[in-house]
Subunit: 309 residues, 4 copies
């Protein structure tokens, strides 16, 4: 498989492991990578929002890219998120990724201070970042709820498609399915559109989506593999049923602060302890953690874990 | 077909016709109803947001309900929107609709002053309104972008399902497909979930949606009929292609202030002149109107009109 | 004092009394009006947001205007709020007020469905409403947090100053002191700018504000009278101290849902029982009510009540 | 004057000078500092939002702190903003400032990714940052419009007042005057509250504000000096008149994208060319720049410049 081909399958939005003292703990990553590969996951998205990327120092972000890079192989891609409020920092991180054997692509969200929803402004930012890693595919990470950049992504792809030769597509974490549809249809389907909301994956599949990046792919990728199989076999009742199982787990996760705090706590319950979250994320106390475990248990989460394929 | 059965097909979110002096013009409604029926549309949604319902006086709203009621038949339902900032007004309009032969259902959005996102509060409002027309199916009209009521609708349906015996379902005009999916799956599919965003209808179909209420069904229902046929024949390429045609027309419409101002102008171009919009909606000048016509022409809109079936 | 002169002093944003069954209870109004006059309050604002105006039927709004009108006198003005999502309803209520002896002025907020922040659109709405009561002063009620109309009011006053001869000024319930300053300075101070946030009255006084409309003027007008006296005597320490007392009471009030629910409960504690709030406002249970009473007691509220002058 | 005393007077929120190629240009800073001192300005706020702080690399931020530090003297304080989405970066910058002779204080806004409005979370962030520069006064920079952190600052000061010994106060760039008043009155006036919106300075003075940090203090500090003098002489008509002059200039500035883009362009017109802004800020074209100059000229801006004292 060429690494410039579109992504087919599930990319895990990885968590950043911390020691209890708050420093980055890369010692867990070998086991983490093995787990993902064993579950048929197609790659790791590193230093994204699930990975608390913008809460890290630049050195920490580089360290994580370096720790994941060795696990790249023909069935497993490593995509590094390099976005920052500072285009200068994003460029530095892009250049670092480009120099690192094993990194398959980079991604960047829009800078979230002075948020702009002007396509030429965002295109300029992307061009500077993508241009710092010209040999790697570049994905625009569309996350308007966090960045405040409410552009129509198909307009960005159209506007910047020529100026950014390595513009590969978009990680689409938003609910504007009209725009997502337009992205998918643009230029005969030139761009790779990666679905970013696990709980509504089926709504992207009907538009032709082939790949996805998500948090719950860290623990229960099999639910989504089965969903996609059923969908492609035109067994919609089953596909909807798997999506409802995903909704059940996501709903529980989101009750615990947000997808990162809740997700990291779930990760610990699956046997890989990624440690605490960093300020301004806050951590669950023991009572909340116990309740989470109980609710997951009632939802059949641990049976799912026992049947990963 | 029983009028309490779920709705299958397309309901037009009708415009309110005005004379040039701003008074309601019911003289157009016979032709309007004929047009919709000839196009295979399954009903009319009266006094909704496309109908400028909350911009009307109570008497005007009653007049419009009365003008549409005679067109109810076994293939064409009349649903009257009765929502108001004042539950007292909503109840009065509900009772009026209930007393009017031909009205098949009522709907109400949440009161949009002092917006509440507490399910019991919205349930209380709905119970009072639905209770004023107990023999008619009641639909909750979910339009959070206008009302500010960001509840999870499946929680409302679950909470109020017993207390409101005539709670039939929801007109779902929002992009929370996770919640929409949960509404559809609730209680073995008890509730009728009517899709409210024309440009992403396909994203609802994949969840099992059967009916929809929309503005562009006033002019080009055939695009959506074909979309649904192709979808159900598992011809997804065609279904997506029809959805893209819908997106093209909707995109043009939305450039002209909003779906009501733009939509009413398009309606005029189709030969049914619904007159101006009421304050605080503003009307297009001649230059804008000409540009709209040109853009529609370039999009093949008039060829579509010439081939309504 | 001419009723077209600017307002000097405090206008109470009155609550609408309801019976326990939810119907309007005008029997309390004589006592209510006496209380306000005894406290040196300069008038009553009827059917505003504190009065749950847009939650009432049109007939109920007229009934309240009629119940308050007899209490107009040379030291006490009755201002009726007539705003509605429907300009047709607002015009009807304006005409009713105009025909009612005793009504001294009308006010209207912007229509809060399809919110517009275009000055000509809001001016058109105001012109239609003000034109239905041409012999009464008209106040624009600026409440963007509820209406979504984020215009600069000084631009509206400037734009509409000629077209609306009875445009008297603005009830300014927002925190844009730059705009408020510009309103006050416009045309040599032609317009009456009534301060709308009790807890920051002093911030308006420094700009030259002379009148205010507020919820806590229903119970503790003396705090504000003393504040204004101290301010005008250039005793800023005392003025700030009275403002801090106001902040203390307002802070407690706002803990109980909002200024209407909390305010109406406080009103009951002062001996005038205005009954429950209407849906979608919800009412305090006994425990919350008891806590409110205790917190007010600790803040010295009841000593204030015992010393009204 | 002790550098731990409260700030009395005006601190300029400085712009970061760039060369045309986008690199930082410190060569202008000597002249810039002289200008500010000649105008009676009491200090420089470095790397704040006007300074495009979070658009810079960490090294650039350190370079600017180093370039300004030498201009600290008994009448001129240097305050360095160290805030970042990453507490790790903020701590690094705080420690750098602490080690730099001449830096008089640091400030930090809340991290603006995963925005939190929980006081303990923000207190924890502040404690980590302030603790990295324990010998310097620490100011919380309240800028909720950019950070999304809508806490009540007086609650933060109260909560963290003991845990953060060097917590000096707040740069208050928001319109919640109730909260600002509570900050000023807290603990007998322990905390230093620096006003952050030039155009409404008078609304802070009435609460007892003594110091301010602002963008237009870069060019026309004399307007504010006169305003404060008139205010303290109880000549309110004059004070309001100076505030209206400030409003006029600020209104023009804000027409040109925002206070940074417009402000930097005005700075160039005053003879100190700070170069372009960095992505995602965009720069004015020649036509816009010419219009800005013309509007400033009509507003008497250049006469003001000619009379700086």
């Amino acid at each position: 498989m060429s690494k410039t081909a579109k992504i087919n399958g599930l990319i895990a939005a990885t968590f950043t492991p911390f020691h209890e003292d708050g420093t980055v703990n890369t010692s867990i990553i070998p086991e983490y990578a093995e787990r993902l590969k064993a579950g048929g996951v197609a790659g790791a998205f590193v230093n994204g929002s699930s990975g608390e990327g913008v809460l890290l120092s630049n050195d920490e972000r580089k360290l994580l890219a370096e720790a994941w890079a060795p696990y790249s192989d023909e069935n497993f891609r490593i995509i590094v998120h390099v976005g920052s409020t500072s285009v200068a920092i994003a460029k530095e991180l892009a250049a670092h990724a480009a120099a690192l054997p094993g990194i398959d692509a980079i991604a960047s969200m829009a800078p979230n201070f002075f948020p702009s929803s002007e396509v030429p402004v965002i295109a300029d930012y992307c061009q500077q970042v993508a241009g710092s890693a010209p040999q790697l595919p570049f994905y625009y990470y569309h996350l308007p709820a966090a960045t405040g950049t409410y552009i129509k992504v198909h307009e960005l792809l159209q506007y910047a498609g020529h100026a950014i030769p390595n513009l590969a597509g978009v990680k689409y974490t938003h609910v504007d399915f009209m725009d997502m549809h337009q992205c998918l249809q643009l230029d005969g389907g030139r761009f790779d559109v990666l679905h970013g909301h696990d709980e509504i994956l089926i709504n992207g599949l009907v538009l032709g989506v082939k790949g996805a990046i998500g948090t719950t792919f860290n623990f229960i990728p099999q639910v989504y593999h089965r969903l996609m199989e059923a969908y492609h076999a035109n067994d919609l009742d089953s596909a909807r049923s798997y999506q409802m199982k995903s909704i059940e787990i996501v709903s529980i996760m989101l009750r615990y602060v947000n997808a990162i705090v809740g997700g990291k706590a779930i990760m610990k319950l699956t046997g890989i302890d990624c440690g605490p979250c960093r300020t301004p994320l806050r951590n669950l106390d023991a009572a909340a953690f116990g309740l989470l475990e109980q609710q997951l248990s009632e939802a059949g989460f641990f049976e799912l874990l026992a049947n990963p394929n």
